[in-house]
Amino acid sequence: MSRRTLVTFFHHEDDVLGATRALRERGLRIADVYAPYAVHGLDKAMGLTPSKLPWVCFLLGLLGAALKVWFEFWTTAQDWPINVGGKPWNSLPAFVPVTFEVMVLFAGVSTVIAFFAVSRLGPTRKAVLADPAVTDNHFILVIEETDATFDPEKVHQLLRQFRVIRVEERVESEQEVR
């Protein structure tokens, strides 16, 4: 299956933001937006749902902390009790720093791994760019042309309002996109 897309080029961050917002409000489907750097507010303009990564971070941090407390208790109080300075074997304050470190390690590393897994990033993944210019000074907005809502005349008029500099129409096969 193939799909038709309209690839539009912009010079300024504000223009691409405004165009994205305006097109989405008119019911058009935004395939993706490419920018040379992270543009603040773009996620809201595109209407992306909030990421679920914070939950991975939170739960695995909690798991890491719990495992570490159990491990420290097991090593110093159960399996091989060691008397340190006459303190009780299960001295919680002494466990806190290491527990904290392991919590951060679990939360941090697992979040990165989860991110790679969800976005299918890996050493073999090839970069898919709408156009090499996006690595330079251009912002690119890719619009899907669906028959029901797509009216070329209106879309072009709207894009001109946001100082679009170039528009290309493309037909892509599904494999190329993903």
Binding site: H40, G41, P50, P54, F58, G85, P93, A94, V96
Partner: protein, 371 residues
């Protein structure tokens, strides 16, 4: 409210002098924290060239208006009731000669001279910074921002040294034989946390009452929420640094401080301190929508402000009242009076200048700010 505080203080001074004056010391230090935190907040943003807080910068600026009042109340404590400090006027000499520095440092004349110097430096620099900020409203000169960046850098350095020493002088020397080198940092964490809470509360109020309507947005609240979250955790971190080292080493001279605070009715208060200053803000503000909700932020901020009182109470009162915590009319009255004085000076400061620094070069950035 301020009047009530004065009446309570006067009555307390006659009927229960030690507690009344200790309360005034607590209240002075509490207000000092709020006033200085306001100035530190402003100074940090001038130095780093941050634009986002410009829209509500008049709030922390107005908060520092309480500093001259703090100077008066603190001097009142020193003049009327220096016996709060056990070393004041004490002439005992320790057998070994190693305490000469401590004796010199804690001699009444040097102590008062230092206190005056701190108060003078803070009041003077904050006055200079605020004057430039307000003048910019009239002439729109960008050089005010540059001058303020330089003044703020000076203020931050001076603040770092003087506040660190002041926390040693005014609070730690209540128990002259106990010492903790992290005490100054610990106090900075408490100061900035309570200051941020107050800035957030007043900013939300002003947004609701009108002056900051459609100026203060969710984006500003989000960043204030992030700062509250970070400094709450920082406070906990420094608290634990102090506690763990003393707990681990277990040297009687040092651990006596915590032993006293972990016995009897002090223990629930000791744990309540951690709950109010860290556990509640941490768990509530962890979630992003909570940082953007004015209602939740207000609640958390009040919790933090109560927590700051408990924190200071735990530092000042145990050596004074002994085994059971004392809480009653003197504590409530003096704190109500302090709150009255604070809000009087705050609203006076807010009325003196425009609610928004209209000609600040960073205002545009602040108004259209988003995370």
């Amino acid at each position: 409210m301020a009047g009530m505080g004065v009446v309570t203080l006067a009555a307390g001074a006659l009927m229960s002098p030690d507690r009344a004056w200790a309360n005034l010391l607590l209240a002075s230090f509490y207000l000092l924290g709020l006033g200085l935190a306001g100035m530190v907040f402003v100074a940090i943003h001038y130095v780093t060239g941050a634009g986002w807080p410009t829209a509500f910068r008049r709030v922390p600026e107005a908060m520092s208006g309480v500093l001259p009042i703090v100077a008066l109340t603190f001097l009142l404590v020193l003049i009327v009731s220096p016996q709060l400090y056990p070393w004041f006027g004490a002439t005992h000499h320790e057998a070994n000669g190693s305490a000469w520095f401590r004796e010199l440092w804690l001699s009444p004349a040097f102590f008062i001279a230092r206190s005056l110097l701190y108060l003078f430096v803070w009041t003077g620099l904050s006055y200079a910074i605020i004057r430039h900020s307000r003048r910019q409203d009239e002439d729109g000169d960008v050089s005010h921002t540059r001058k303020n960046a330089r003044l703020s850098a000076g203020f931050l350095v001076a603040f770092g040294v003087t506040f660190w020493l002041a926390s040693f002088d005014w609070i730690m020397s209540l128990e002259p034989h106990w010492y903790s080198t992290v005490f100054g940092v610990y106090h900075f964490a408490g100061l900035f946390l309570s200051g941020l809470a107050m800035i957030t509360i007043v900013a939300i109020w002003l947004e609701r009452m009108g002056p900051l309507r459609s100026v203060l947005t969710e984006e500003h609240l989000h960043d204030l929420g992030k700062l509250l979250f970070a400094f709450s955790t920082f406070w906990m971190y420094i608290w634990f640094c102090q506690f763990m080292l003393i707990w681990y080493a277990n040297i009687p001279e040092e651990s006596v401080y915590f032993v006293q605070r972990l016995e009897g009715f002090w223990e629930p208060l000791f744990l309540l301190n951690l709950l109010l200053n860290w556990a509640v803000p941490f768990l509530v503000l962890l979630h992003v929508p909570a940082k953007r909700s004015p209602k939740l932020l207000l609640t958390v901020c009040w919790v933090i402000l109560v927590g700051r009182w408990v924190d200071l109470y735990l530092m000042i009162f145990p050596p004074l009242v002994g085994e059971t915590p004392a809480f009653g009319i003197w504590e409530v009255g003096v704190m109500v009076g302090a709150a009255g004085l604070f809000f009087l000076s705050l609203f006076r400061g807010l009325r003196q200048a425009r609610a928004v620094p209209v000609r600040d070069p960073y205002l545009e950035e602040s108004l259209s700010y988003h995370n």
